[in-house]
Amino acid sequence: ESVPIITNFKLAESLSSCRVLVVGAGGIGCELLKNLVLTGFKNIEVIDLDTIDVSNLNRQFLFQKKHVGKSKAQVAKESVLRFCPSANITAYHDSIMNPDYNVEFFRNFQLVMNALDNRAARNHVNRMCLAADIPLIESGTAGYLGQVTVIKKGQTECYECQPKPTQKTFPGCTIRNTPSEPIHCIVWAKYLYNQLFGEEDADQEVSPDTADPEAAWNPADAAARATASNKDGDIKRVSTKEWARSTGYDPVKLFNKLFKDDIMYLLTMDKLWKKRKAPLPLDWTEIHHLEFSQEEACGTGLKDQQVLGVQGYAQLFHRSVETLRSQLIEKGEGAELVWDKDDPPAMDFVTAAANLRMNVFSMNMKSRFDVKSMAGNIIPAIATTNAVIAGLIVLEALKTLNSEFDQCRTVNLQCCSFHTRHTVLKHELHHVLFYLVLFSICFSHLV
């Protein structure tokens, strides 16, 4: 004679009395807040350091166009209160990594749920929850895929137990001497932006690397190159920024140095080109004497998805350098710009410089749309994946709290198999499966 869980008074009471923390009010966060209040959670605190952007509006449904620029946590709270005025929500427009949110703060809650998009914050919350001994539900989404994991001290692995793949980096000589993929050129262009307009970084050199081990014919040669690069080298001694300054950030001079002179220097390192296609230098004047290739009419595609020709990117380079130069001047002595994918001249600059370099190294050029994806590390995102994951989070939350409050029942994690991976991916499922969830959803296609 069992009573339905939803009318289980013990659970209903505990839902309305317990306090939960939601870290993040973005894609997962909006869906999660909605699910929590509709399920009966009453005391919710939500924190997010970000403000609303128009690109959020395809999925972060608690926000409208009029809210662009405002605090996500704050607007999320207001929107939720409109359909559930009795909810007790506290919003923090802040970073969870702020020391104010110490272990004592975390101990206020019976449950913490992450709705984050970066590892640093996840690591931090993971440690705080371990220290406070509070259960944590971790989750993430990207495109069609998503994951939910429950982390409980002493019972499950924690977020940092398994090593996570690190951000991919490329060797310096690949970026500086022998790029073979568009991404190498894009990384180079971002380094170039910093060298010219932003904070100079010794690890972000853009000039030809004379000490490239691959360039040496024999060990003696390598040693000679290494010492030569330390001595009076025209290219190495003067920093890129100093050189640019000395020319007054002249776009044409900059163009010819980067895409002609430096390339011609690379060509002298002939061993590099024995088994690779050699780069082809560009010349500003020559480009503009070429038959002007008719660029395709915009037609039915997005403007940003057009791929321009060499002249187009040369023009874009010229324009963006001038604009960025003005920005620098406006900011005054010793000013540094910070690259941002949503800052049009910064994005223009990287698009142009990367494409010119791709052209030099005989790669197919890429549209601004594609360059932005790679340069800006944009992860495609939709509402439905977040909706599913946020639903699963709340179901896990109910299970977690149920076991916390019912002391009579032994905590049985078997049914939940928190640390067992469900690899129920039959080969057909690669197409059928859109939600990869640790232990939760298994898609089996039975015919």
Binding site: Q64, F83, E181, L302, Q305, A383, T384, E396, V432, I441
Partner: protein, 348 residues
């Protein structure tokens, strides 16, 4: 239905490009244009309906008609997030309209207060896809038969407590594309090591592969013959949620409503009785669906609505955009186990 994208306005505005940026990067511009040319009918605006409405409006369909003849009650209002707190007594579709529209002003959202049973056949023909929630089995079968012949995509879905399902009928010939990585021939490198012979997959280039798939009607999907040997042998692998669905649809037909917590005792009894009847008619044992099911199919659990609504919403997007392999043809979700299963029932 859109086979080519000539029909609708071919230019994507700056506003759309900015707002849909993150999804265009996932499913591409063509898919977004097809969505933008599609009209959808959504029947039933309770927990599941609101989720599907949200997902389709955010995706950017051309138009969404919200159809519901019922009135807002305290219970129905608390089940979803579109109805304002002072709307008790109003029509459910009407009450949901304003907040639904605010989700995305670029979509034409309309409310229709009629009962879906009263709609004539040609009412449905103005849509590219129809999504039925909280409908009787007979109505769903009728609409499915009507629409499939006209290449209108049909979807059904419900949430009962912790359980939920969705069904789709995309017709005899549903065409779609899948994006696959391009296989490139070996490069011209002089250094032809052993690696050079392998066909390389270029991570930067992809190609679109065209496919066609056929679906069963709802009628055939629900009237599987379990008495033959082949069906019996597949019984072990069959999700019990399929039988649960049959029971709940019968309850809905007999009582004109879904199981309610207020009448828990009476409704549980009836559910068990219906279970016995339904399984017996199919020539199956009652043990297939143990008594415990009764405890978990009352009311609509919000997180289950979110999961089923998410899957259902995405299936509608896939079907309208004709991109990516659709689930074929049922998706069952068990919120207690946290398991989701795709399975096929119906004509081969």
């Amino acid at each position: 239905m859109i086979d080519t994208i000539e029909k609708e306005d071919n230019i994507i505005s700056e506003e759309e490009a900015a707002q849909y940026d993150r999804q265009i990067r996932l499913w591409g511009l063509d898919a977004q244009k097809r969505l933008r040319g599609s009209r959808v009918l959504l029947v039933g605006l309770r927990g599941l309906g609101a989720e599907v409405a949200k997902n389709l409006i955010l995706a950017g369909v051309k138009g969404l008609t919200l159809l519901d003849h019922e009135q807002v009650t305290e219970e129905s209002r608390r089940a979803q997030f579109l109805i304002p707190v002072d709307a008790d007594g109003q029509n459910q579709a009407q009450a949901s309209l304003e907040r639904a529209q605010l989700l995305n002003p670029m979509v034409e959202v309309k409310a229709d207060t009629d009962a879906v049973e009263s709609k004539p056949d040609d009412f449905f023909f103005q849509f590219d896809a129809v999504c039925l929630t909280r409908c009787s089995k007979d109505l769903m079968v009728r609409v499915d038969q009507l629409c499939a012949s006209r290449n209108i995509k049909v979807f059904c879905g419900d949430v009962y407590g912790y359980h939920g399902y969705m069904f789709s009928d995309l017709g005899q010939e549903h065409h779609y594309v899948e994006e696959k990585p391009k296989v490139v021939k070996g490069s011209n490198e002089a250094n032809d090591g052993p690696e050079a012979k392998k066909p390389k997959v270029d991570p930067n280039e992809t190609t679109m592969v065209k496919k066609t798939i056929s679906f069963s009607s709802l009628k055939e999907a629900l009237e599987v013959d379990w008495t033959n040997e082949k069906a019996k042998s597949s019984l072990k692998r069959t999700p019990t949620d399929y039988f649960l669905l049959q029971v709940l649809l019968k309850f809905r037909t007999d009582k004109g409503r879904d199981p309610q917590p207020d009448s828990f005792a009476e409704d549980s009894q009836l559910l068990l009785q219906i279970r016995d009847d339904v399984l017996e008619t199919m020539g199956l044992s009652s043990e297939l669906l143990p008594n415990t099911f009764v405890s978990y199919c009352f009311s609509e659990m919000a997180p289950v609505c979110a999961v089923v609504g998410g899957v259902l919403g995405q299936e509608i997007v896939k079907a309208l955009s004709q991109r990516d392999a659709p689930h074929r043809n049922f998706f069952f979700f068990d919120g207690l186990k946290g398991s989701g299963v795709v399975d096929y029932f119906g004509s081969k």
